[in-house]
């Protein structure tokens, strides 16, 4: 198993403050050779010194992370099956399956419960179900929301693309390309202004690179030393277009380095690699060291939206998606990524480390699958919304007038 974390050396000056002696030596060598890639033989060694934090985690914490990955995975699979087999089911999703390790690894480094004034905030621009579960959103209520129920997480007003639960620091999703990172930087700005050690995290996809918001976010986060962690989930496709249509870099993290922000590229399928990079970034932000950028190389197992190409009871979607005109994802590409599955990788690490044995790990998966099925069953029994409630919550108090009847 390869635990390599590729360092992005955009500004050795900043990194110097945070890394050990031998890491500094590595950076000098990198400077001499002019490119990190040319000394890749030293990378693993050098990274051995940046703090392999996950090795020090308690068994309970590691198991909790594994369980979170499983919760996300089985939420996605159960919902896909609902969409494919239950004609009464009205929910939909922009599936996160395949990317579970990213949300899990990042959120495992955050403060997720406690008073609102102390917990860390997460902005999920897209594919929020995974981010929401990792941040601690109540799963049955989320299932009810995604099925437009009155007792759902947001009373049926939001649905999948706009989930939000500030109580656990999940500011939520907007389903947009652009605004979320900038707004997240505003939360980070507030933390700094009021002397809080909270951090703001934004998850955004590869498509976000092209938006002016991306550049504004990084520039201001650096200028003001904001406690912002930008997690770029590069799953290679924005909607139906490969990211090469919108970004000239192979590693989007190169762009962050240009803004003077410490940046790392990690294997987004390996939850502990993600954890290590996130821990480093969170520690830096809490200590007043400013923003960090993490590019997690990952992949989604389903198409951009819904479950075209998927079969009930099977993981992933293959074949022709009628909406995928610009870039068609070859089945071989999807299957190649599925060979490095975040669930399998996490389980294998925990088994190798003796945290769990294989039978217990599989038993745990069965428990979680049942737990998720119960959540969907509960959601399906929740009441539908009252039409008139659509006029509520426009302002803090009162309702607006009905105008549709003239």
């Amino acid at each position: 198993m390869n635990y390599e974390v590729n360092p992005k050396v955009g500004s050795s000056e900043q990194d110097d403050e945070l890394v050990s002696e031998s890491r500094r030596g590595f950076l000098k060598l990198a400077a001499v050779t002019g490119a990190v890639a040319t000394v890749s033989g030293r990378r693993v060694l050098a990274n051995g010194d940046i703090g392999y934090y996950a090795k020090d985690l308690s068994d309970d914490k590691l198991i909790e992370m594994y369980r979170t990955i499983l919760k996300i995975r089985w939420h996605e699979r159960t919902q896909a099956d609902q969409m494919l087999t239950n004609p009464d089911y009205r929910g939909y999703n922009h599936f996160y399956a395949g990317q579970e390790a990213v949300a899990t690894g990042v959120c495992a480094t955050l403060r997720n419960d406690g008073p609102f004034e102390q917990i860390d905030l997460v902005y999920s621009s897209h594919r929020p179900s995974g981010h929401a579960i990792a941040k601690g959103v109540d799963i049955p209520k989320m299932c009810a929301e995604n099925d437009f129920r009155a007792t759902g997480l947001n009373g049926g007003y939001a649905a999948e693309m706009h989930l939000s639960d500030p109580a656990v620091g999940f500011i939520g999703a907007d389903g947009m390309i652009g605004p979320a990172p900038v707004i997240a930087s505003g939360s980070a700005f507030a933390f700094r202004a009021r002397g809080s050690d909270q951090v703001a995290v934004v998850f955004a996809g590869d498509g976000n690179y092209a938006a002016p918001h991306f550049h504004s976010t990084l520039n201001n986060a650096k200028l003001l030393d904001l406690p912002l962690i930008y997690v770029c989930e590069n799953n290679l496709y924005h909607q139906y277009a490969h990211y090469s249509y919108s970004c000239p870099h192979t590693d989007i993290a190169d762009a962050a380095a240009a803004y003077g922000i410490p940046a790392r590229v990690v294997d987004g399928q390996d939850v502990l690699q993600v954890y290590n990079a996130a821990k480093e970034a969170v520690d830096r932000a809490r200590a007043g060291g400013g923003p960090s950028f993490i590019e997690a190389k990952t992949y989604r197992y389903y198409n951009h939206w819904g479950a075209p190409g998927a079969k009930a009871g099977e993981l992933g979607a293959f074949g022709y998606d009628p909406l995928a005109i610009t870039s068609f994802r070859p089945e071989r590409e999807v299957r190649a990524w599925m060979q490095r599955d975040p669930v399998d990788i996490a389980r294998n690490i925990l088994v190798n480390w003796g945290v769990l044995d294989e039978p217990r790990a599989l038993e745990m998966e069965a428990e979680i699958k049942a737990e998720i099925e119960t959540a969907f069953a509960w959601a399906s029994e929740q009441p539908l919304c009252s039409p008139e409630d659509g006029l509520k919550h426009v302002f803090a108090e009162g309702t607006v007038a009905a105008r549709q009847f003239g």
């Binding site: 007003y157 706009h162 907007d174 389903g175 652009g178 498509g207 659509g390």
Partner: protein, 322 residues
């Protein structure tokens, strides 16, 4: 002549103009300029004209909107297709630059550009940031920009031809809910004027005025009301800027009753402007306005479908007025 979809009709117009004018460009994101229609050749602007003229860019509506303006200022006709979700990001450059430039330069700036801007959010279950049916109001408010909103494939093609040939910048609103409409559309180019409303049905008891995504519900209600013996005049605005006041005033001078219907929010919806213009010119008329409440569209289909004006709402409002 053939039964054609909305998008096929539009791209047929664009394809012809691009063949005639080798300088003309098209910018898109996510939504390739491709359309097929039974019995007709597939249109694919990207493969036909190449990627220098037809650009698939990143998700950056600010660039798309600004780039076509710059192309226009450089003397190249240019159009862009802004899909759902980003429909108001171009607002700043259209409102604060394009709308003012001709006037500000003493008439020197010429802007042969078209922003095709989708309006989405009539699908129950989307809601929130995924709805923008109110943008007709925002764009209609801008001076110096012609804002049009065709509601049929025939008008979609004819108004696209006029928009591409216009020296003025044009915001061409595309209510995505109408994408499934088909009708007979000529193969050759023809122009539909950028300053005329269309009387869809003549009548003497009541005038109903709507536009874009509001039209199917209005036509459905008009059919029901006609069946009940009411003589209904139906006007499709087609143009929000500059609004065809004459057609509106002539109609209400005859019927003395005006019902406006919008999928946009009630406050400042296009119908509010229609009523104001008519009230200034017609004495003794009665008015009613059907619109989406001043609330963001919620996701729940139960809430959303109750709030969205539909044929039943329109017919009931008409009966109350006559």
């Amino acid at each position: 002549m053939a039964q054609k979809s909305w998008m096929y009709s539009v791209l047929e117009a664009v394809q012809y103009e691009m063949r005639e004018d080798p300088a003309m460009t098209w910018i898109f994101e996510l939504t390739p300029p491709v359309a097929s229609n039974p019995g007709k050749p597939v249109i694919n602007l990207e493969t036909e004209f190449g990627r220098k003229r037809v650009v698939n860019t990143g998700i950056d509506e600010n660039w798309m909107a600004s780039a076509v303006l710059g192309a226009g200022l450089a003397g190249s006709r240019s159009a862009t297709y802004i899909p759902y979700q980003g429909a108001l990001i171009p607002f700043e450059v259209i409102q604060n630059v394009a709308g003012k430039l001709r006037h500000m330069t003493g008439g020197k700036a010429s802007m042969p550009v078209v922003w095709i801007i989708e309006m989405t959010g009539q699908t129950p279950g989307f809601a929130g940031q995924h709805s923008c049916y109110e943008e007709d109001t925002y764009y209609a408010h801008i001076p110096g920009v012609r804002t049009v909103i065709p509601s049929t494939p025939y008008d979609a093609k004819g108004m696209m031809v006029s928009a591409l040939r216009s020296p003025d910048p044009v915001v061409y609103l595309y209510p995505a809910g109408l994408r499934t409409l088909t009708e007979e559309v000529p193969d050759e180019q023809y122009e539909v004027p950028l300053d005329k409303a269309a009387v869809r049905q003549e009548g003497s008891d009541l005038t109903i005025v709507s536009s874009g995504g509001g039209m199917p519900g209005v036509l459905e209600a008009a059919e029901v009301l006609t069946g009940e013996g009411m003589s209904v005049e139906v006007i499709d605005l087609r143009v929000l800027k500059e609004m065809d006041t004459e057609t509106l005033v002539n109609s209400v001078a005859k019927t003395k009753r005006l019902l406006t219907v919008d999928q946009s929010y009630y406050t400042l919806c296009p119908g509010a402007e229609v009523i104001a213009r008519v009230a200034e010119n017609v004495d003794g008329a009665r008015y009613k306005r059907v619109a989406f409440p001043d609330a963001p569209p919620p996701a729940s289909p139960e809430m959303f479908l109750w709030m969205r004006p539909n044929a039943e709402h329109i017919a009931a409002a008409a009966r109350a007025l006559v």
